[in-house]
Subunit: 163 residues, 6 copies
């Protein structure tokens, strides 16, 4: 029967033993978006061009958050990340809505014993949260959505690619 | 013209001056959900009843994350939270989808000079991320969505309630 | 029926609401000891007099740990400590044993809505752990023991004094 | 003459050079217990069965603390732990006392240049502290005791087993 | 005789008791500079205008560091900062040298029981360190210098203004 | 054209990919000094001999700061330091001034994919800041200066030695 690996046979949470695993190159890509009023995106775009660089601050927060993953997620192993890159795409009209959006994509790599899906997802979450923080005074209704793993490679479980 | 308060008139990011604000009681409620295979929810429910308490671990992670908000979000003020409560609701069939879901709702309170929207949203994000972490071995396609502020009260900007 | 305050009526852990409590002066004193070979204590004493200041390092670690309490103990409230003092007493022969010992006593104060018992106990624990760390190469069998609250004052629950 | 390795020849604290050491598999097991009123243990046991899972919260706190060891203990090296497991045993009557107790045992593994005794001991300490925190409203006199290394294996200094 | 307040009468380090002090408005301003090759400053200026915003990253690092002061400086009290602002000035030719420089100035405010000199100085240090990090591949000889308190106001010791 | 490696071709900050780099032994040495009134140095020297060990506290703070570098400097990679040593030299009369000074020198080593210049510089900065903190009540005008990399070895960019 399928079981969650984060619990032992007695149902107790543990940080699972990865000591036997080999150090292999691993990469994970995650993304998510924050929906906002078109007017909010316009303000962000103005700042990006001239002053008030919302995206630049969010990128730094996202990169730093990737490094804090093992501190935030209780059963994550500490990892020595070898790369973190975070991109933001400004979307003027999200299909099926009247909203604009910013899409955040994070790529994390490591040579280690466990994958970096959680690091990529954590970077995305904190990147989006930071955008929320900086724009909330003008748009409290922003929604973060579609935060998901796009792909991962390396390790025993092999590759995953979202269709 | 509307401007982001997190930047000064020269467009430089700063932690805004709240020294003049009065200490008032503030509360914020945020929520979000993670979509998953119905089979994944079934496994979580079994664990909840007997062993492998996914929800219990996620709740602790969410509460601790609320306390780390000022460390994660660059321009947030440190705050001495007076209450953090996090609830999870298991949803068997999300309307308009073939997915099950878990919905996380966080309530944060403080008596202070700034609001606790970011703390409530951060708690939700990390609660959902922790569920993802514990279930990812059986369901890598889970998606976190609809993470948003439900309501806030207190402070100069007054109440906000999502329609 | 008596119940643990850290759980709500549904049995879910939460950081309890202290918003209604008044800010009062609170103090807590905790202590504990680490039993060791008499030879180990002799080495520590020599270092204290001349070089290799085990006690000095342990004191700094204990003070810093008090400030990390809300990060270590999941349901603790963050607090702005107004005083932390940590003392160490070298005991040549612990009664009823053939061991020597070092006794660590921590005093913590705050003006706030919750007590500082956990901060005092955490300081003691990390002070003792640091002594263990620095002496473990010569005495791996050291034991930490009798870690307890000696007294607390302030707040609604009033004073506690260990008999 | 025996000397503490954490000090150089001039008596100055340093984080000792382990660069020449080889990466080997290392494991450490530590334990400790918290003495309490029999009534307190009864309440914990009820919660475990139904709601208010004191042990579950303490386990998560203990696992997370193992990951924070190098931040808490000044001269500890950072390590990428490959496993952390924490067990709790409920003891109805501690021999030679009128107390009940909970015994916490932590096992930590790594493939690295230094041992993980401190990580195992730190996990035990914070696991016990968290139990104290959650039960202190009903039993302030609880005492943490017998916190010690049970065994360690791997590395140049070889195996240690407590008699 | 003059004595350092961070040690008690027995010479032991402690986090001094500020419980009796009143909460007053306090402000501190600190500055420092990093000397560099004129060519390095030219590259930074280009990035500032178009891409590769060294100053923007350094500013965020400096603001976040101010919030970590009590974690970095062992005997500092935790404080709930109400404002942090960090400015950078590009200096083409430092008088008396052949170097260019960037000057970092940090202003920190709080309403609390202790001053914020350490927070302002820590922000400056980490702001300069971050510039060093980002430019070190092209200029390893950069030097950080003249890091000092410019002024402070509030509290019992009153105002300080550097001549 | 020369470019900063911490930005990609679009000018976006990232934690650069070091996955292809080989693990080699790396060492960095940095130093800096804090200028003070001769009377202040006299007080520190008295404490060192008898009580009030300013230097001992600063050394611990510096060692711990080296371990926090990746948390403080946004684009730094996490590293498992294998050695940190910090020395302080008391200088009675700094040439060309009427000041006394303490000079702090930090040596950091690792076997890894990136160098440890930032770790050595961060240790120096926090060591000096801690001295400032402990002496500021008697000498607010102290200045930190000449903080720089003395040498580094290992890695693709080879050795650097300050002339």
């Amino acid at each position: 029967m399928t079981q969650f690996t984060h619990f032992d046979s007695a149902g107790q949470a543990h940080m699972v033993d990865v000591g036997e695993k080999t150090d292999t190159h691993r990469i994970a890509v995650a993304s998510g978006q924050i929906l906002m009023q078109p007017e909010t995106l316009k303000l962000i775009r103005q700042g990006d061009a001239k002053k008030g660089d919302v995206i630049g601050v969010a990128r730094i927060a996202a990169i730093q958050a990737a490094k804090k993953t093992a501190d935030l997620i209780p059963l994550c192993h500490p990892l020595m990340l070898s790369r973190v890159a975070v991109d933001f795409e400004l979307i003027d009209l999200v299909s099926g809505t009247v909203s604009s959006a910013i899409r955040c994509t994070a790529t994390v790599e490591v040579t280690g014993k466990t994958g970096v899906e959680m690091e990529a997802l954590t970077a995305v979450q904190v990147g989006l949260l930071t955008i929320y923080d900086m724009c909330k005074a003008v748009d409290r209704g922003m929604t973060m959505t579609d935060i998901q793993l796009l792909e991962k490679h390396g390790g025993k479980s092999g590759s995953f690619r979202r269709e």
